[in-house]
């Protein structure tokens, strides 16, 4: 309870434009949000950009947070940012007519920006389709309930449950295989 009161106090501070409160929010959520972006993109540089964009957007959008689960709200913003990134990438792809980094479709092994091979999980995640991968990451990093995820995806909760189960089972098989 004390934790949620603290969070409420911090959010109120953010709404009042208090830089220290924003710093606290960054400290609290940067790691999870970065993990979410990294697992979706497999790229440190892009994850850096998306994380920066998320918190900058938070400054602009904090006024629109009207209560409820802050984490849910934050990850909805994060998810929108990721989708915007995908869309701009698609546009670039069409314009340049070059092959999109095939990692996101799981056809080649992804590499980190520093040249090191990514971990095994990242490789296996790359074998899942984009939508499924996002579903798994949203579930894992955002702490959204299945009901909230289903609402966000505009699909029945049974569908979300079945898709998540199927995706996680497949991922487990990839990892163990």
């Amino acid at each position: 309870m004390a934790k949620s009161n603290d969070l409420a106090r911090i959010i109120t501070g953010c709404k009042g434009g208090d830089a220290k409160c924003f710093s606290q929010i960054v400290d609290m959520y940067a790691s999870r949000c970065y993990g979410y972006f990294y697992r979706l993109t497999g790229n440190n540089d892009i994850s850096d950009e998306l994380l920066s964009e998320l918190f900058v957007k938070l400054v602009e959008k904090i006024g629109s947070y009207k209560g409820g689960s802050f984490e849910s709200w934050l990850f909805k913003v994060a998810s929108n940012i990721f989708h915007d990134h995908l869309r701009s990438k698609q546009r670039r792809k069409k314009l340049l007519e070059v092959q999109i980094t095939e990692f996101e479709f799981g056809t080649i092994e992804p590499k980190q920006s520093d040249g090191e091979l990514t971990d095994k999980l990242q490789i296996q995640l790359g074998r899942l389709d984009e939508d499924t991968r996002e579903l798994v990451m949203l579930r894992f990093y955002s702490q959204l309930s299945f009901k909230e995820i289903a609402e966000k995806r505009s699909e029945p909760i049974g569908t979300t449950l079945a898709k998540t189960h199927r995706a996680l089972k497949k991922l487990r098989e990839f990892m163990e295989g």
Partner: protein, 173 residues
């Protein structure tokens, strides 16, 4: 990530699948999520976090400045509107008394005529007065030109007196 499942997964799955299936599904999900926990994503760089905080501080400062400017513009705009309406109101509703040499046209109209509702009668009176004045003016001109041999100083004075009297009657209504 330990406490992320605030909802009762088993109960949730049992709404859609039989108890045995639900248990199996929950187990699959928990095992897969355990794999995710055992393979954490890299942490964001400290420098990145510092840059984000600096960027936020800069944006907040810019937002404050922008807000301040907006308030100033709004206040200035409101003051300009008030000033404009005050000036217009002063010009419309407050009139200075006429100065020397200024003609107050309204006061030339006889009160009785101004307030009368009988327009026909007023027109008739005006016609009579106008005819009399014109007649007297003609007579004065005749006298002044010397055409009338029977004229005398007393006649002129008499005519002038008559003219003054008619004028007096006219303005009295």
């Amino acid at each position: 990530m330990e406490n992320r499942n605030r909802e009762n997964l088993r109960e949730l799955f049992e709404k859609f699948f039989d108890a045995e299936q639900a248990e199996s599904y929950v187990e699959d999900i928990q095992k897969a999520e355990q794999i995710l926990r055992e393979n954490p994503a890299p942490e964001p760089d400290d420098m990145l976090i510092a840059n984000i905080k600096a960027e936020i501080a800069m944006r907040l400062q810019a937002r404050r400045a922008h807000h301040f400017r907006r308030v100033i513009y709004e206040v200035a705009g409101a003051a300009a509107v008030i000033l404009f309406f005050a000036t217009v109101s002063l010009q419309l509703f407050i009139k200075d008394p006429p100065g020397h040499g200024e003609v107050v046209y309204a006061s030339l109209i006889p009160t009785a005529i101004w307030e009368s509702n009988d327009i026909a009668a007023d027109d008739e009176d005006l016609a009579v007065y106008t005819a009399q004045i014109e007649q007297i003016e003609d007579e004065v001109q005749t006298l002044q030109s010397g055409d009338d041999t029977s004229s005398s100083d007393s006649t002129i004075v008499e005519l002038e007196m008559e003219l003054i009297e008619i004028n007096g009657d006219f303005w009295k209504g």
